[in-house]
Structure formats: C-alpha cells, structure tokens
C-alpha cells in the first residue's frame, strides 16, 4: 500500500481512527507508550494496525549517547516491532539517556567524527536487532554548541551511507532550528540528501515565553512558513514522500488533524 499523509495517533482518537478510511492514510505513535506487557492500549494499537499502516516513532534509544542503546529498551522495541509489524520505524539524531537517568527531551551533541562513528555503530546495532532499516530524524536546536566537525546534513548523509539507514526530515525542526541558530532553512532543504528520505514530519511550533527562541512544541497547526518549505522540498524530491502531521499537545478534534492531512496531499499536487 502506498503511503500518502498520516497523522499522530492519540488514545482519544482510537475509535475514529479505526472507522476512518482514506487512501494512503497511516498513523504514527511513540513506541515507548506501547511498550507494555498487555492491556487495552496495545489491544487498540493492534486493532488500528489491522486496518491501517502504523509507524513506530521512538524517542528514547539515545542513539547519539556516549554508549550503546539500553539493551532492555532495544529488546522492548524489537518485541513491539514484531507484534505491530510497522510500516516505518524511526528515531532521532539526539541523546536522552545517561548514567541510568532518562531526560524526556532530544538533546544535542557536537557532531564530531568520533560521534559519527559511535552513532553509526548504534544504528547498525539497532537495525540488526530489529531486523530492518530505521529512519533518523533531525531534531530541533536551541543552543549553538561548539565543536561541530560536520554540518547536520552531511552528518545525516554519512550515517545513511555508512549504515544504510533512511532519513526522516522534520521540516518544522529545520524552520525552528534555522530561526533559533540563525541558519537558512531553504539552504538546508536544498542540501538534504533526498535519496535517503523515507518520511517527512510537519508540526506546529510556538514562541518561548522568556527568549526570542521558537519551541518545537507540537501544540499548534503547521505554520504557513513550514507549508512553504514543504512545497519547496517536494519540488526537490520530485516524488511524494510519506508525510506525518505530528501533534502531541493541545490535540484538536480528529477531523482537524485529517483536514491538515488533506492539505499535505494538496501540497503534493501544487509542488
């Protein structure tokens, strides 16, 4: 089945999601929320999976950490992948665990060659344990770290070449990071290695209360600027790419998410 645009799936939308039929519709969930031994949550996801493709988006493998992914967490992800048979599996160019503590965020690191080697090894291990290719997502940035030896785009391309992983391009993260660090979002998209592109994320952002920074808050509709960048990207790819309307906070009615999804379909036509 060819994937077009999908939406984040939240428990309050399970019943509507199960009923809805639309060409190419798919759903994405955070893998960690379904790493349960049993119960209604997993049963619901299996019901959704029986009528729609499901993508598992992980937030806690900490692939850019200074050690390998937590073995138990990786096993749990593998078990979920076997059970759900997701159409896509993705993770982040970030770290979130250190010395037994989990930080619920996607934390930055200096993109050095040593970090590249470590992360490539972590991706290879993950793909080996899962028995499949995963996609790696560009995170949002708030802080200009020192010590980068690679641009983010080159780092992602090299990871894809070395490990065979795919890439997940979050266009909102590109916009937010360009705003926060003073980069050029269009130049980022133009340099992005679209040959490795497996999935696109579109989400909303919001201004920080205390600084001029934009926050990748996933609590608002996709902004006009990000829709513009998305059309630019599609003109570059020359092919539709599975695109997620990502929403995690202030979640609107299911119909509102589907309307944003429709817009992603129209963007493909306009590109």
């Amino acid at each position: 089945m060819k994937l077009t645009a999908g939406v984040s799936l939240k428990p309050q939308h399970f019943e509507e999601a199960e009923r809805t039929r639309a060409d190419g519709l798919w759903f994405e969930v955070h893998a960690e929320n379904y790493m349960v031994a049993g119960g209604p949550r997993l049963a619901w996801l299996e019901r959704i999976r029986s009528c729609h493709p499901v993508s598992l988006h992980g937030v806690a493998l900490s692939l850019a950490g200074d050690g390998p992914p937590d073995a138990l967490h990786l096993q749990r992800l593998a078990a979920l992948v076997r059970r759900i048979e997701p159409v896509l599996v993705s993770e982040h160019l970030a770290w979130s665990r250190r010395e037994g503590v989990y930080f619920p965020d996607l934390l930055p690191f200096p993109r050095t060659t040593a970090a590249l080697q470590r992360m490539a090894a972590n991706i290879e291990l993950t793909q080996q344990v899962l028995g499949r290719r995963i996609a790696i997502e560009n995170p949002s940035h708030y802080l200009a770290l020192e010590g980068h030896e690679w641009s983010e785009v080159d780092f992602l391309r090299e990871l894809a070449v070395r490990t065979g992983c795919g890439l997940l391009l979050d266009v909102n993260n590109v916009f937010v990071s360009a705003h926060n660090l003073g980069g050029d979002a269009l130049a980022y998209l133009d340099a992005f290695p679209v040959a490795h592109l497996m999935e696109v994320h579109l989400a909303g952002h919001s201004p920080d209360a205390n600084t001029p920074l934009l926050i990748d808050s996933h609590d608002a509709p996709v902004s006009a600027e990000v829709w513009g960048l998305y059309r630019h990207l599609l003109a570059r790819t020359g092919r539709p790419v599975p695109t997620l309307i990502e929403r995690d906070d202030r979640v609107p009615a299911f119909e509102a998410l589907l309307a944003e999804r429709e817009r992603a379909g129209h963007a493909e036509v306009l590109a």
Binding site: E32, V101, I215
Partner: protein, 245 residues
C-alpha cells in the same frame, strides 16, 4: 560540550539562556507524566499545587525508564513525607491507588480463573489449593483512612469532591482487568490479606488463616467469592494437578 558537561549545565540554574529551554522541556516531560499518572491526586490538591510538588519530586528522583507511564514509583512515599502535605495524610494512600491503576492497565493479558472453578473441590483439596493472582490484579488496604472512597470520587471529573459525608475509617481497593478495562472494587482487610497470602504462594487454608488474623470477623466464603468474581486470579493449582482458567 560533552554529554557530561551538558548534563551539568542542564542541572545548573545558570548558563546560556537556551539551556533553560532544554531544562524546561525535561522538567515539563517529568511533570506532565506525573500529572497523567496521578489523576486522583491532581484532583484532590489542584493542578497548580500538584505541578509545583511534582517539580520537587522530579528534581529529587528523575525518571530512569523512558516508558513514562511507569514514572512515579516513589511519588506516593514522597507525598507521605512532604511537610506541606502533612494535613492531607490520605494523599500517599490515594497516590498509591493511582499507581496501582496504571500497573493494572499495562500488565500482561491473561484469562481470569472462572468464578466456579473451585466449585467441585472437596474442602481438604480446597485448603491445599494455591491460587495464583491474575497479572493485572492490584490491591491495597489502608487500616485507618478511606482511600478507596477518596480515590474513586476523584478519578472522574463528574464525580462529587465533597468530602463531608465520608466515614473516616480504613478501606481497601481491588483492581482487576478480567476483560479489556481496569475495574475497581472495595476490599476488606481480610480480603486483602487473603489475596496477599495467595500472592506469596501460600495454600488457601493458610491464606484463610492470614485473613482471619487481619480481620477476625471476615466472611471467608464471601471474600473468596468476591475475588473470584472480580477476576483476581489467573490459575489454581493443587499438589496433584492444575486447574485451567
């Protein structure tokens, strides 16, 4: 900046203003998780008070497991020793019920032992029988406080929060998941002791003795019937044979 340096900056209240964004996001993730996991406590104390207390807990005991629905294992005890909560001695017990509810929700699936599964056993065989709790069964007994009433009235938004008509006495709660959803049921001291003894691997005769020690007037037949009806057990075994659900 190394990850170690980053963690130090994250914990320090200084540094680059952008570091505050990461610090806030990490803290928000922890507090949101606690708010989701302890809804009855949130309702009893109000969202603002809850979130300020949750921030104290998150600073003291950050999550170790990225499955944030498991976060807050130490939160009931933390509330129990929190000085500003000293006038709400029931918070710890209510928080524990919230915690047990999530545990029940996410526990492994299993068929519950049928209510009539023990019907054919002779009294002696019944006494030797070991009942194995269902993986989603959770229970708690508080000897002095009406935790079940307080908890159940604060789980649903539509319920009354008026505490005026509550009888201040010990209460227990049994949570089970015989089908898809978690269900709650009041539990006596004897019923709770019976189930705890079964979970510890004792035969039913010994579990019954434990129940009578805890509650001398306990109606054992009624207590056992309730546990079976609620789906608190997954299996039963005697020394010679096991009974299927």
């Amino acid at each position: 900046m190394t990850p170690q340096g980053f963690v130090q900056e994250l914990r320090a209240a200084t540094g680059h203003p952008a570091m505050a964004v990461y610090r806030n996001t990490v803290m928000k993730g922890c507090i949101d998780a606690l708010e989701a996991n302890f809804p009855a406590v949130v309702r009893l104390v109000g969202v603002d008070w809850f979130r300020s207390v949750a921030a104290l807990y998150a600073a003291e005991a950050p999550p170790c497991d990225p499955r944030l629905f498991t976060y807050g294992g130490g939160f009931p005890a933390f509330l129990g020793r929190l000085e500003p909560a000293a006038d709400m001695p029931y918070l710890e017990g209510v928080a524990l019920l919230d915690l047990l509810w999530v545990e029940s929700l996410t526990a492994a699936d299993a068929d519950a032992l049928r209510a009539d599964a023990l019907a054919g056993l002779a009294p002696e065989a019944l006494g030797d029988c070991r009942l194995i709790p269902h993986p989603a069964a959770r229970w708690s007994w508080h000897p002095r406080l009406p935790i079940t009433t307080l908890w159940s009235r604060n789980r649903e938004v539509d319920d009354t929060t008026d505490l005026g008509d509550i009888t201040w006495q010990g209460e227990g709660l049994l949570l089970t998941r015989p089908a898809l959803d978690v269900q709650g049921c009041g539990l006596t001291a004897g019923g709770a002791a019976l189930l705890t003894a079964c979970a510890q691997g004792h035969a039913l005769a010994d579990a019954a003795a434990a129940a009578l020690t805890e509650e001398p007037d306990c109606n054992l037949a009624a207590a056992l019937a309730l546990l079976l009806e609620q789906g608190a057990f997954a299996a039963a075994s005697t020394s010679s044979r096991g009974l299927e659900p």
